[in-house]
Symmetry: C2
Subunit: 210 residues, 2 copies
């Protein structure tokens, strides 16, 4: 499997131009299943995956995307949106899920709950926000790697105006804010970027051994 995953990651590149073909819904659902399995700190999953299917909504996002037409052209558009309220309520919801899924009383999870609440209480609001966005970026890494394994093309995009996205998507009312987005689709045969040599620092430069 090592060869497979390395080949898949070499196959992946940030698509510049998508074809007009759409990805089958079943494959998208599989990719979202994989993404939902991403690791998060304490398992708290402090984000949501917003699929923007509406053409009209995507047109409203374009001005907040520095004109990157991929937002319109891609087959599917995923917005990773971090939860804004990080603290007791989030922990209580999670504890409730653990209790239900594992068939254990919530009272037996009190120590875990108190520990997590204490960690967040020890952070200021910006640290909590950074933490949530970092978790969304782990999920982006999971999605990109799983998509490569499934031969689904992607283009992650950090260069957008998050506040514009929040406004168009009404994320404020959902207690969310835009973290990073990713276009999904099928590479256009004319996208010459697919042939460009990947630039990666050598292991000798990237990996330090102590």
């Amino acid at each position: 499997m090592a060869t497979n995953i390395i080949e898949a990651l070499n196959w992946r590149y940030a698509v510049r131009k998508f074809s007009a073909e759409r990805i089958a819904e079943e494959r998208i659902q599989d990719l979202l299943t994989a993404t939902r399995l991403s690791a998060t700190s304490y398992g708290l999953q402090p984000y949501r995956l917003v699929m923007v299917n509406s053409r009209e909504t995507r047109e409203k996002l374009l001005p907040h995307s520095y004109g990157q037409e991929k937002v319109l052209q891609c087959s599917h558009l995923v917005v990773f949106a971090a939860q804004k309220s990080i603290g007791d309520t989030m922990v209580n919801n999670y504890i409730h899920s653990v209790s239900t899924a594992r068939g254990v009383p919530e009272s037996s999870l009190q120590g875990l709950a108190d520990h997590m609440k204490g960690v967040f209480a020890g952070m200021d609001s910006r640290q909590r926000r950074e933490w949530a966005h970092q978790q969304a970026h782990i999920a982006l890494g999971t999605l990109l790697t799983a998509a490569a394994a499934m031969k689904i093309d992607t283009c992650p995009m950090g260069g957008i105006e998050p506040a514009g996205y929040d406004s168009v998507l009404n994320l404020e009312t959902l207690g969310l804010e835009t973290s990073v987005i990713c276009a999904l689709g099928i590479r256009h045969p004319e996208d010459t970027n697919s042939n460009l040599k990947k630039i990666r620092y050598d292991a000798s430069e990237m990996v330090l051994t102590l």
Copy 2:
């Protein structure tokens, strides 16, 4: 491949107790190759992977790891360390690599270089720092997913004292600071956590469609 990657991600869990077995170096090198292929914003790879092999160094890290013995017991320990200086020098180094790898003159990349420098010039120091740490978290997601595909066990750990790690590992002198760490190894047969039901919010809760 969708089934395979979903199975792999379901197999993965945050290992609580590692066995004493070591992972073969060749497999670790494959995993690092996969991790180096992670996507980063503009391809800039603003982090390094620090492998802490020395037992003595790991013992010094333990007090900065809230006593989590996995830091000592795991087969391999990876510290994702973000670069502290984000700006012109980083961009120039990258442009030099692109020029060399693709056999194009650096002058032909001037527009790209100016664009990237402009983006960083528009950020304050904390935003640049957040950006670098987010990129390290994408790489963590890549490593965790690739490791699962390779049946290598992992335990990502965000709950450490980064400043203590920086100090023990002398990262300041390398222009780096600790972002997140990940233990690699082989799950201990007595680690009952491997049997616990994974807690993930349902697609109906996690995925919003607009």
